[in-house]
Amino acid sequence: MADYVLIESRDPFEYSDTGYFYEVAADLSKAGNNVTFFLVQNGVLTARKGISNRAVDKLQKAAPGVKVLADEFSLRERAIIGGKLASGVTSSDVDELVDLLAVSSVKAIWH
C-alpha cells in the first residue's frame, strides 16, 4: 500500500481529460492505496454546492476512501465560501499540501 497525493488544477467543465485523473484516484484507492485528492485553481470549481453531475460525487461513490481537499485560497477567489462548499470536500491550504509533499514515501502527481 502506498500514499498518493493527486493535485487537480483543472476544471472538469473545461478539460475532459480530468475524468481520467479522477478515475486514477478511484482506482488507486480501490487497489488499497491511501489517496488524497487536492483541488486547486480552477480544479475547485467542482467543489461548489449545487453542481449537477459532479466529478467529486462520482469519485466518492466509486472510492469512498479518497480524501478530497480543496485549497482555501482558490475557493475564496471563486466565491466558494461558507455554505457554498459541497459536502465531502474539506477546505485545506497549501500549508497542508506542503506537509503532504514533505514525506519521502508519498507519490505526488500534478494535473
Binding site: 493535485i7 485553481q41 497549501v94 509533499l101 514533505a102
Partner: protein, 138 residues
C-alpha cells in the same frame, strides 16, 4: 542542495509568467515550504525560464487608478527574489534555469540567484530530495 536529514522538495516548472494560475500556486508552495524550513529546488524549463528575468517592468492599475509605485506590482522576478531571501542559507532555495530553453528565448538576464543547468540537474535534485513534484503545462 540539502544535507542528510534535512527535508527538501524539488519542483519542475514549465509555465511562463502571467500565463496561468499554476505559477502562483507553485510560488505559494515554494514560499510555504521555505517558511516551514524545507529547502526547495526548482528546475525551470520551457517558458518558465522567463520567470526570473531581471527586467520585468511593473505597471500601474487603471482600474484602481493607482500609479506604478502605489500598485507595487508583484512581478514573478520580484516574488522569486523574495524567495531567495527566504532561502538564502538553511532552508536553501536552488533555482536552475534550463540552458537550452534560455538560449531559445534569449532569456538570460536574471535576478541574482538562479543558475544555468540542464535536465541532469533535475535528475540530481530528485535523487537527493524528499519528494519531487513535476508541474507540466497543457
Amino acid at each position: 542542495m540539502t544535507t542528510s536529514g534535512e527535508k527538501s522538495i524539488t519542483i519542475a516548472l514549465m509555465d511562463p509568467p502571467y500565463e496561468s494560475g499554476t505559477t502562483t500556486t507553485a510560488l505559494r508552495i515554494m514560499d510555504t515550504a521555505l517558511r516551514k524550513g524545507i529547502s526547495v529546488n526548482v528546475f525551470a524549463y520551457e517558458g518558465a525560464v522567463n520567470l526570473t528575468m531581471r527586467g520585468q517592468a511593473p505597471h500601474p492599475n487603471p482600474v484602481k487608478g493607482t500609479s506604478i509605485e502605489e500598485q507595487d506590482h508583484p512581478s514573478t522576478a520580484k516574488f522569486i527574489a523574495g524567495l531567495f531571501t527566504l532561502g538564502a542559507d538553511s532552508p536553501k532555495l536552488e533555482w536552475v534555469n534550463c540552458g537550452l530553453c534560455v538560449d531559445e528565448r534569449g532569456a538570460g538576464e536574471w535576478i541574482d540567484g538562479p543558475r544555468r543547468g540542464g535536465p541532469g540537474d533535475l535528475f540530481k535534485f530528485s535523487q537527493e530530495s524528499t519528494n519531487t513534484l513535476i508541474i507540466g503545462t497543457r
